[in-house]
Symmetry: D3
Subunit: 193 residues, 6 copies
């Protein structure tokens, strides 16, 4: 593993607390490699546990948003926040979730012109507003999403995913976290029709 | 409790999962009231658990930053993010931690002119950069803090507190979380010399 | 008086021109101390006279805005301009005018979520627009305020208070004017119901 | 006088308070016409008196800045604030003061590339910082000006002129104050060598 | 020719390629002097040819916009981009095209308050949006212009003129291109009625 | 060809002027498809000719910048301008020029953390400054690049490529130009070592 993981290096996996090592081995088995966010954050076991507990609570729960839509929020807001790690790693996951080879790159650059539904466009308008000026969110923003069929709980999900990845984007900038080379070209084989 | 807690209301404490109810009762016993962030986030038990685990990992750990300095980061960055909940609640905590009646209001408006040390000013310059443009952080930012005696681990702490409260600020904006009236005037009795 | 008043120090009150000394002694008798803006600006007697003549013309006149509402404009716009002197000193005055212990801190951080009326919210939207982008004010902005019952003269007042404190905020930044310690915790005894 | 003066019209000069009428007649005699700022602000006699007292205190005093340099500050900051009244009216005055037909238009668009001295460039850098982010002014800004030979009193002048015209720019935007046609092409006869 | 043309100087006209020399002599004959943009860009003959071919394709074609309106777009967007060369040179051309001595200075500072028609105001709103945030242009922007009678082809023209002078503004900044003194006061003799 | 090319559709290739049709057929033979920029701009033959003449003058000339470095400028500035067409199409070309599967995605999101040389980082700092605030370029910016070995002519190239693609980005936003699906995953086979 000669690639740079982050400014704080990467830990010796075998020296990590049991639960963290297991989580890392589990994701390695599933993905074929260990995404650098696991290695970089393992430098701080308590923060690692809280980060992934938060991540899982938002990204793997049931609800009105599909998993692909959650990843759309990550990619669009991370693009605006200029976070290479999140754009590249979650761009790959989005391609897999949506079985779509191009939508991630579209969303990363300018979600306004991506090939998504008007409902997804409204979802991303809201997510970006939470990311850039959450202090201006008011009831009229909720109403726009209600018109697109989102419930209040869905809106919490949209905003919370945006807020959580705002944290993630800032951590990646703070520690110069690097995406694994595997992510860049993963899942690009989907046929665009 | 007639005050508004958040757009999503407040849960019936007795209906909450055991661990969350206990955490809430514990803070109530200590503070004399339940800060609204506990009630507001209890709407989502899994997110509640992750949020406070993350919070505790950053705010109650040992390290090169005092607890008061961690609160300074919260107040200064939350002021810039225009988050009333965090400014008011953590302003109160900061007054207690620093035994200082005025530094919180100074930091909330313009940390550059607050009565703090040059080292603390450098700490806040960095925290604000993480909050506003983490994608521009580079090695020269680390060097400035090294000159003020901060270690790499301290710098992680500074940035991580800023990043975590960036999440918190956005959640507060998303759900219109309101500070308890008790916070505004708490701990203002310290003598300014 | 060991506290810093401003980068330009504080004048010897007895050496000041008669009219300025009288104004200062008058405010001292009324407030119990001399707000630093009087001491700082006395460094320039002609500017002192013009400044307070302007201030009085805007803040103590009759009209459609209450004195409390004028102070709301000061606090909200000064918060956005990150002016600690004006936020702290006029926050205290606002608490007194409104007999309200918390609205000043709310307005200083994010006026959009303060406990004010929709009419006051519209007033502050306009005041902030004058403060940040007066060159974009047009007839549609007047119409919004007319709908809330403001007359053209009221709108002049709103805008002029915002413009005048824009000057005041910049002077405070220029000379590093510091709020007197007395202001921070003044008038915080009002009961919040 | 069929030209629009401002959104609030122009007063009947004969109905104005004596002192204001005299000031207006005096400027008319000197300039050959009445600049609209006098007519527009006469709508509010007390504000008129304070405004021009402040103006005169800053613009007609002795000190380390020439009158032309004071006008440079007005034109450069008003250009950035997109205030047509101040750019056009004070552009004309600047041409007269400097006996220079082109420097006003240069400063109004981009002071950085105008034909001015390095000392004047430093003066305008500071004036623009006061106009746009006075809350970030610190001792290092003073030091730069000291190196160019400005005294502390000169720096107060630079900042105060910038702050005062920030007020003026906002008032002009608020009431849609229009420059007299005479100003646009006044004093353009100076030879450029 | 002692005036500075640009950071890259001015070429020896006689050493230029034939077609470029002819174009320069032609404009000199027509204008009485050689606008510096011709001298500055002649440093790169291929770029010179492409630049003026693009310019002519946009500015001298027939279509729904008058030549004066095309110049309005240039002046308004160049003012916002703080490009002295384009504001001054095209301000002069605009005065000639519109036989109007003041509209250029109005547009250069704040097009919103210039004496233009509502249709021209809408045209400039769009041109400025293309200049500052073309990535946010969508169908609703086209609809606003359709309501003012602009065709899709007119809208292409508006946006393309804005985009082309965005390039021109950046080139002028890059090479510090200076407007000829002749431009500043050219065509100011038109009577304002 | 059922994909959307732009808001203005795509022309009938056979109805195009001879020189434009030939250029299109030539690029089709070379690339295997017609990049949409050729189809979209063919709607305006004169602009098409000027655009590609300018493009070729900047991108295919000899000089101190490699072709790959020119494409780096395009991708980095287009990412900041949120132009999906240019990021995707020139990202593909950059992968080919540099034989590198990942640098384009890195540059599109945050050039500051891409795997490039310090010299290339300085080149992109300058290119981005030209794109965002060309009016602030001054001699000190040239000096930084001189220290990295760039000549004045190289610096013109860097700035001119940035300026030209600023035009291109705005045209793409104006007409909603869409990248061909072929570009997204082109040339991703390079081995990352």
């Amino acid at each position: 593993m000669s690639e740079k993981v982050s400014r704080f290096g990467a830990p010796d996996i075998n020296a990590l607390p049991e639960d963290i090592r297991e989580r890392i081995l589990e994701v390695q088995e599933k993905a074929g490699f260990v995404p650098n966010v696991f290695l970089a954050l393992a430098h701080r076991p308590d923060e690692f546990r809280a980060f992934f507990a938060y991540h899982d609570a938002l990204m793997e729960k049931a609800g009105g948003l599909t998993q692909g839509e959650r990843e759309m929020i990550v990619v669009a807001t991370s693009g605006i926040n200029q976070c290479t790690y999140c754009v590249v790693a979650h761009g790959a996951i989005l391609r897999i979730r949506e079985k779509n080879a191009i939508v991630a790159d579209q969303l990363a650059t300018n979600y306004r012109t991506a090939d998504i539904t008007p409902r997804q466009k409204a979802m991303l308008d809201f997510a970006v507003k939470v990311s850039l000026k959450a202090h201006e969110i008011d009831e009229s923003d909720y109403e726009v999403l209600h018109e697109h069929g989102f419930s209040d709980e869905d809106i919490w999900d949209i905003g919370a995913v945006s807020a959580f990845f705002g944290l993630s984007n800032r951590m990646a900038g703070l520690i110069d976290m690097r995406p694994n080379p595997e992510f860049f070209n993963m899942a690009r084989e989907f046929k665009h029709e």
